[in-house]
Symmetry: C2
Subunit: 375 residues, 2 copies
């Protein structure tokens, strides 16, 4: 049955060219004849059951005897049956709908995220996939939990949640999973729900990378390093700080990290605090901004010191950090590609919706290091 059908691309050993292989395939020329793959009908035949039973097994419908299931599954292995995803998707005629739940904040990285979400919204129009997003106040764990609880399987197939860590949210996500709505923990450092997928970076490693770059940039004479955060309440910030300190202390002992300065996204306040700290520490040789929003602290610092002479490491690629990198106000950026993150979350939700495993390798978000030279 199948032997005459799928000969062609079995050969991947790089020994034979396609042309050679083709000649062996009994003179059949037209590609659609040569590569035809086993269909559900072939499967039924091979398993010695009816198409209806094959359908029951494939789609996990009730009332299937263990024996029948075994027969079919064995046959699947044997003939190498793979469902034609196009046919599946056509027959189901289902449109996947995914929701991104993002914090409401004005920071530039979030803007980039939104931009990518919107871009993909259009790009996936043709792809049976519809994307929507919703923003909720950064501290409103209750609101997030409430929104999550209100989602209906009929309306949403999956949610990517970027939210503050909180037991309420965790529970809400767990309940979503029980209702078979897929959940992706998106770029947020909450204590992870192991049943849900996570898209994002290891923040300890990100902080450590920042530390290494800081050490490489700051020179070999003793100096102090300012660490600036929007808030140190979040797990993300804490882990980055831990990673940063670890590397500085162990590999660059001539550098001293100052206590974290928290800006709380308040521009005036940042100015004041930074001016005070810089006045009190004339030997600052590095600045590390560990929150996603680098603009406010860097502009504040620029008013007090010459950024060109001290090492500056920040997080996230934004129009601002990109420009600052170019004109040497910033020396290095630790980034996680927002476009990749969004696409990854969508791919994962799609795969889960189809009960497939996502390709782990592709979905791993890397900690990127950006210099002026590799922008």
């Amino acid at each position: 049955m199948r032997t005459s059908k799928q000969v062609i691309f079995e050969v991947r050993t790089s020994i034979l060219a396609f042309a050679d292989v083709l000649k062996e395939s009994s003179g059949r020329r037209k590609s659609w004849e040569v590569v035809m793959r086993p269909t559900a009908k072939d499967l039924a035949e091979a398993a010695g059951v009816s198409l209806a039973t094959v359908d029951r097994v494939l789609n996990e419908r009730p009332n299937v005897s263990p024996k029948a299931a075994r027969l079919v599954n064995d046959a699947i292995e044997r003939i190498g049956f793979v469902r034609n995803p196009a046919a599946v998707s056509l027959a189901r005629n289902k449109v996947y709908r995914f929701l991104f739940l993002l914090p409401a904040s004005g920071d530039l990285y979030l803007k980039e995220l939104l931009r990518h979400v919107e871009e993909l919204t259009d790009a996936l129009k043709g792809d049976l996939t519809e994307i929507a997003y919703r923003q909720i106040g950064i501290d409103d764990a209750h609101g997030v939990a409430k929104l999550l609880s209100s989602l209906d399987k009929e309306e949403v197939d999956g949610v990517a949640v970027m939210a503050p860590e909180s037991p309420q949210v965790r529970d809400a996500m767990a309940r979503l999973l029980q209702r078979n709505i897929k959940v992706v923990q998106f770029l947020s450092g909450q204590e992870k729900l192991p049943e849900a997928d996570f898209v994002g970076i290891d923040n300890f490693a990100a902080g450590a990378s920042a530390g290494k770059l800081m050490g490489m940039l700051a020179g070999s004479h003793p100096g102090k390093v300012m660490v600036i955060a929007e808030t140190m309440q979040s797990l993300d910030s804490i882990q980055r700080r831990l990673g940063f300190d670890h590397v500085i202390n162990s590999a660059f002992p001539h550098l001293t990290c100052l206590p974290s300065i928290e800006t709380h996204a308040d521009e005036a306040r940042s100015q004041q605090v930074m001016a005070r700290v810089l006045a009190g520490n004339r030997d600052v040789s590095g600045i590390y901004v560990l929150s996603a929003e680098a603009r406010v602290p860097i502009l504040a610092a620029a008013g007090n010191v010459d950024l060109g002479t001290i090492a500056v490491v920040v997080h996230e690629r934004t129009p601002f950090t990109e420009q600052a990198l170019r004109d040497d106000r910033i020396d290095a950026v630790i980034a996680q590609d927002p476009g990749h993150a969004v696409r990854s979350a969508i791919r994962i939700m799609r795969a889960r919706s189809d009960a497939r495993e996502p390709l782990a390798a592709q979905e791993k978000i890397r900690i990127e290091i950006l210099l002026k030279e590799n922008l």
Copy 2:
């Protein structure tokens, strides 16, 4: 017609939750009813022509009057018609077949590439996409050109070519394009064929990034930098060297680059040459390996100096460079993710085969910087 059909996901302004939107959609509940998108039939109706004509326009068949084409295209815009790709692919029932043409060489990066190609071969089994690869001697431009010329549209839909730059190969690729076989210039630094897509990095920028890292790592006292290549014949190598020198000379003038050492993949020879150079230059503070194969030169260097004390920058992530990064024999790696490169090439060939534009943003291969901390 359509107004009642596709209301749901128009709202992306993050103001409304899905539930709210749903309530407005006239009480229809089942998702497949709510989101039904306009079909070709709707298109025909909207355009005031027959389904046959719509088909003719969509698939660019002959014998269509300009007027009819206009009618259809206008209607497409008006009602937002997008072909259901699943239905298209099912009806065409076409399997895409792509060939990777890679150099025959034992280096570790190529091994990684092959691994990813083989991985995707399996992963795409279900996806109407079959991948094969073929290897040809690194210098055999004639062989490459000959193989390319022998390809038949019936057998191959696209080729990703990683081959030495040569007019023969360029011409062969141009002829392939004329025969409507898609071509991707894959990780190779030939003077580009502008009509064909390119997957890979900017090697000047890669060399510049290496230079910056070298400067950051090598310290502030004067020193020499060894530059090691497999060969300086290829454009890749030349561009990397140029980028490297540019940064070193302009930003780190206390460092001096030595002339390139060519290993020609010959282990014994590398040992000798490097020993001689290291003996003649006691003040080497950095080593830059600009070819894809870092193992041979690094092992050779390890026999002559203490790699822990000098700055080492190499290219490409392989099991070897990864391990060497961990145990501090190497300080930084400039990498282009082979998995991403392979997937990107495949996505581009698929998009081109369907006469779609690939998503530029997604297909850009980044110059990654790897430190011990962000592996």
